[in-house]
């Protein structure tokens, strides 16, 4: 584990926080003008109705007097607990560009935690290394906790081998209260195990979002020259002309992805593939949509 005084750690932490904040700010300023106003009984303000607002929040009385469509907004009060399970196995360090899948997963986790922090939600972090659950940050709220969250991410390195779903299943055992679980992984394991892990969480009342981080080299297999492929997990070595196996590889990859998607969705899990060169907001939107749905479902 890296020390907090480590310049590389500090730089990484800063970059992590910066990326997370930037992503969250970008999300606020763009797609939803007021997406994170709550629906508690503590009044906050009135404002003009904009398309997309929940019609149940219209202030009918004020509308009758002013002849305008006014929305009533309340201070957010929530008991949402966000668990982020980040796969930190060795395969997550694969990259064909500037950052690897673990970097991207960390940024995504930090950004999600930031959003939760801003919403006064509690958020926790569990890091799985292959089939082991190595580190856990309990779910709490507040700015300081987010800093700790980011620090824990920054000082972690991807290592260990195994099916990430086994790590998820271990993590599920430590989640005492129902909440929203965001599982960030490359999912390079058995689709059945992944579905089993999600089912375990679902049985405990959790909502699950699965975000699959993938490098474009894994998706497109752009290698051309003869290559000695060395496995990041384990000792597998393969010498091959990538051209001769590309089609078969892509077929296997797509087949695995389809099985994974089918298994997770049948388990009631939102699943999204996130190439690591995509903006983080895509993942956040998915998270927010799921969070809102859960909150609505919880109030009902």
């Amino acid at each position: 584990m890296q020390q907090a005084s480590d310049p590389r750690l500090r730089a990484r932490l800063q970059r992590l926080e910066l990326r997370a904040r930037t992503a969250v700010e970008g999300l606020r300023g763009g797609r939803h003008p007021s997406p994170i106003k709550g629906s508690s009984t503590t009044f906050a303000q009135h404002r003009e109705y904009v398309a997309g607002d929940d019609l149940r929040r219209l202030d009918w009385r004020l509308m009758a007097r002013s002849d305008r469509n006014i929305i009533r907004e309340y201070e957010e009060e929530t008991d949402l607990r966000l668990w982020i399970v980040l796969d930190a196995s060795a395969s997550m360090q694969f990259t064909s560009g500037e950052w690897n899948k673990f970097d991207y997963g960390s940024w995504l986790a930090a950004a999600l935690a930031r959003v939760a922090c801003d919403q006064n939600d509690q958020f926790g972090l569990m890091l799985t290394h292959g089939e082991k659950l190595e580190r856990t940050l309990p779910a709490r709220g507040g700015e300081g906790h987010w800093k700790s969250f980011c620090h824990m991410l920054a000082e972690s390195e991807p290592e260990g081998a195994g099916d990430p779903a086994i790590g998820l299943q271990l993590a599920a055992g430590q989640m005492d209260r129902r909440g929203l679980v965001v599982w960030i992984s490359d999912f390079l394991g058995a689709p059945e195990e992944a579905a089993t892990g999600v089912n375990l969480l679902r049985r405990k009342g959790h909502d699950v979002i699965a975000l699959r981080t993938l490098d474009h080299a894994e998706v497109d297999f752009p290698f051309l020259r003869n290559t000695r492929f060395e496995g990041l997990e384990g000792s597998a070595v393969l010498r091959a002309d990538p051209n001769t196996i590309r089609a078969a590889y892509l077929e296997e990859f797509e087949k695995h992805g389809a099985e994974l998607r089918r298994g997770l969705r049948s388990a009631g899990c939102a699943f999204r593939r996130m190439p690591i060169d995509e903006p983080l907001e895509v993942g956040l939107v998915e998270f927010l949509a799921q969070r809102n749905a859960q909150k609505l479902g919880g109030r009902r």
């Binding site: 395969s91 997550m92 694969f94 899948k101 490359d186 390079l188 490098d215 894994e218 290698f223 020259r225 003869n226 290559t227 000695r228 492929f229 060395e230 496995g231 990041l232 997990e233 384990g234 597998a236 393969l238 010498r239 091959a240 002309d241 051209n243 001769t244 196996i245 590309r246 089609a247 078969a248 590889y249 892509l250 077929e251 296997e252 990859f253 695995h256």
Partner: protein, 723 residues
């Protein structure tokens, strides 16, 4: 396969370059740490075999491209490789000269055997799978297309053709047949070769042979025409070329001369032993030394004791050409002719007439070949003639019309007639007889006495059969220097007497004046007639040194008029064996020269003249003495047994084996006709048949094909693999 630039072949190790590049590529790997190894391993397991095959195919294409490029740069040529590379269908028409001369044994193998070997080899070069077609035409006893179609089938048939026929082959007919065969082989065959396998015998291959037109026809049909000389370089041969009998019909007890001609057709002096056999029994033998290209005549007197048809055969020791070392002839030995002298003896013994002269000359005893009987002319009738072979009208006066008709019928059916003129013969009285005998344009002159105008006989045609004795110039004075006391010159109207043949004329004393014909003969139906204008009066006979004086003339004249056998007794090989008999034959048997009985051959046909034709063989295949035995059924129910030998002889031209010179052939053959010689090894034949083909272009095309294939295949693989 040969190479015009063999040094380029040193570059052959370059074919290893693609293999080395391939192996080097397998050694250079970029290292990549990868996450989704499981998928990679599965992909490799799935594709390993297919990828290996694809790589191997690419490697083969590249290696072959390099290999063929090097071979192409070495400029190869070959006769065989085009077969492997594929080609259009070929047609091969082989003409086998199956004449006797092809049986000549040269270098341990006959020309015919050599021709068969070459033909067989040519056929083996063809390939039925390539739609090749072949035909063999044999020019032997007849022109025969022995086989055509599948080359293998044709070759099988070819193996059954053992030896040539003892005849002259009709090569011109074979060439015409080849032209028809070329049409039959049809458009499936792109190139048709016509090859004549012959010994190029000069007797056959000359400008008179009529070869120009058929060869030109074949060339015009687009054929590659070749003449291949299969004969040996050394062509020595000795043959019996002729047996000439002084008479083919002999009376028992008499003798004839057999003039046998032997000939050395080679250039070196050769010793031979000749044997003459009479009915298989040797009767004479002689050794000869024959100079190069020289004939020798061997004269043997033959005097058979037994009557009947007798076979004479001359044999030499066998040499390189067997078929002409023996030759046969048939001598018909009779018991004598029955001569009927119609006339009357002179009333005065000191003044004998024509009848007396004839009687005196012909009545020579029991063993004489001619046995005369006499009959007064008025008593001459059909029955009397039926008992006779020859009729002599001795100085006839008037001849009744009935007698004239009987005489004409007698001659028509084969009897012989001698009209011996004398002083009593009436000019008018014999006119009707001459008209009956179809001697229009012939008139008898008035009697001339020697005192008035002495005349002697002059020979007009020495080949006249009646003058056989006087064909020897030593004896001619005995005939031509005898003055004639009384003679009746014959006058011929040249416009009417076209069928009459003049053998003798009367010449006046100064030998410059023509005093009319003395001997005229012609044919009527099956019989022969002669008019002798100066009959052998006893006063003729003034030659003490010769018994009978002018008798040889009468003798030979009567023999020339004598009835001929009902069929010829000598046949060339290949001729139809067809005989005519006065009475229908039955139980006919025919044996070939080896004594082999040929059954079921004969066919009978009744002819308009009342005779019966017996067809034995359409084409008599072998030379030698053939023996016919049959029984003739007479009208009264009796049967006559007939044993008849038949001489079958080969054409003498086949014995001369000299080959025609190529320059003489060029005079009448189209220029494109190739003339080859099998003695210069068959390579020359093959070379002209399938010239070495430059394969450079073919190989370059293959290189291009390999490169294009490799590029397309690689492009296809790239496209599939880079999905």
């Amino acid at each position: 396969m040969n190479f015009a630039a063999p040094a380029v072949l040193w570059a052959l190790p370059l074919v290893l370059v693609p293999i080395i590049i391939h192996l080097l590529q397998k050694r250079r790997f970029r290292r990549v740490e990868f996450s989704a190894m499981e998928f990679l391993l599965r992909a490799v397991r799935r594709t390993r075999r297919r990828v290996m095959l694809e790589d191997l195919l690419l490697l083969i294409l590249r290696t072959l491209a390099v290999l063929f490029l090097i071979l192409a740069l070495a400029r190869p040529n070959s006769k065989d490789l085009p077969l492997l590379l594929g080609r259009e269908a070929h047609g091969e028409v082989l003409i086998l000269d199956a004449s006797l001369s092809m049986n000549h044994l040269g270098d341990g193998q006959s020309a015919y055997g050599k021709a068969l070997s070459i033909a067989s080899r040519r056929l083996r070069e063809l390939d039925a799978k390539m739609e090749d077609r072949a035909a063999v035409i044999r020019a032997g006893l007849r022109v025969d297309r022995v086989a055509s179609g599948d080359p293998d089938e044709v070759r099988r048939v070819l193996e059954e053709l053992e030896q040539a026929d003892p005849v002259r082959g009709d090569l011109v007919g074979a060439l015409h047949a080849a032209a028809r065969t070329v049409d039959d082989l049809g458009p499936e065959t792109s190139r048709i070769s016509v090859t004549v396998l012959t010994d190029l015998q000069a007797n056959t291959w000359n400008v008179e042979g009529g070869f120009s037109a058929p060869f030109a026809e074949l060339v015009a049909l687009g054929c590659d025409v070749q003449i291949l000389d299969c004969g040996s370089a050394l062509r020595e041969n000795v043959a019996v070329t002729a047996i000439d009998l002084s008479t083919s019909r002999l009376v028992r007890g008499d003798s004839c001369d057999a003039l046998i001609t032997l000939r050395n057709f080679g250039d070196t002096e050769t010793a031979v032993q000749a044997t003459l056999l009479l009915d298989e029994t040797p009767i004479a033998s002689e050794s000869f030394v024959l100079g190069g290209r020289q004939p020798i005549d061997w004269n043997v007197a033959v005097a058979p004791v037994k009557s009947g048809a007798r076979a004479l055969e001359v044999r030499l020791e066998h040499d390189a050409l067997v078929g002409d070392d023996t030759r046969a002839a048939i001598l018909d030995v009779g018991d004598g002719f029955r001569v009927l002298i119609a006339g009357e003896a002179s009333a005065h013994q000191d003044a004998p007439n024509v009848f007396d002269g004839m009687w005196r000359y012909l009545s020579l005893g029991e063993w004489a070949p001619l046995r005369p009987t006499a009959l007064p002319l008025p008593l001459l009738d059909h029955d009397a003639l039926a008992e006779s072979d020859l009729l002599i009208l001795a100085d006839p006066g008037r001849v009744s019309l009935r007698a004239a008709e009987s005489i004409a019928g007698f001659v028509n059916s084969g009897g012989g007639l001698l009209l011996a003129l004398g002083p009593e013969t009436g000019q008018e009285q014999v006119r009707d007889l001459l008209l009956q005998l179809e001697a229009t344009g012939l008139t008898v002159g008035t009697p001339i006495h020697a005192e008035e105008s002495p005349a002697r006989l002059g020979i007009v045609d020495a080949e006249t059969p009646a003058l056989r004795f006087f064909q020897d110039v030593r004896w001619q004075p005995l005939l031509t220097e005898v003055p004639h006391a009384i003679y009746r010159p014959l006058n011929l109207d040249p416009n009417l007497a076209g069928n009459l043949h003049v053998g003798l004329r009367f010449l006046q004393q100064d030998a410059s004046l023509d005093a009319g014909a003395a001997l005229v003969d012609w044919q009527l139906g099956e019989g022969n007639i002669a008019v002798l204008a100066s009959s052998p009066l006893p006063s003729w006979n003034r030659m003490e040194e010769l018994p009978g004086g002018t008798l040889p003339l009468v003798y030979d004249l009567l023999f020339s008029l004598a009835p001929k056998p009902g069929f010829p007794v000598s046949y060339p090989v290949g001729a139809a064996l067809s005989l005519q008999f006065d009475h229908p034959p039955t139980d006919t048997q025919l044996r070939d020269p080896a004594g082999l009985l040929l059954n079921g051959l004969s066919e009978l046909a009744s002819l308009d003249n009342g005779r019966t034709r017996l067809d034995l063989l359409a084409s008599v295949p072998r030379p030698g003495v053939w023996r016919l035995s049959t029984r003739l059924l007479l009208p009264d129910g009796e049967e006559i047994s007939l044993e008849q030998p038949l001489a079958v002889v080969i054409p003498t031209e086949e014995s001369d084996l000299r080959a025609a010179l190529p320059e003489s052939l060029r005079e009448f053959l189209p220029p494109s006709v190739v003339i080859g010689n099998s003695n210069e090894n068959i390579v020359q034949v093959e070379a002209s048949d399938a010239p070495a083909r430059d394969l450079t272009r073919t190989l370059l095309i293959l290189v291009l094909a390999f490169l294009v294939s490799e590029t397309l295949f690689a492009w296809f693989l790239d496209r599939r693999r880079n999905l």
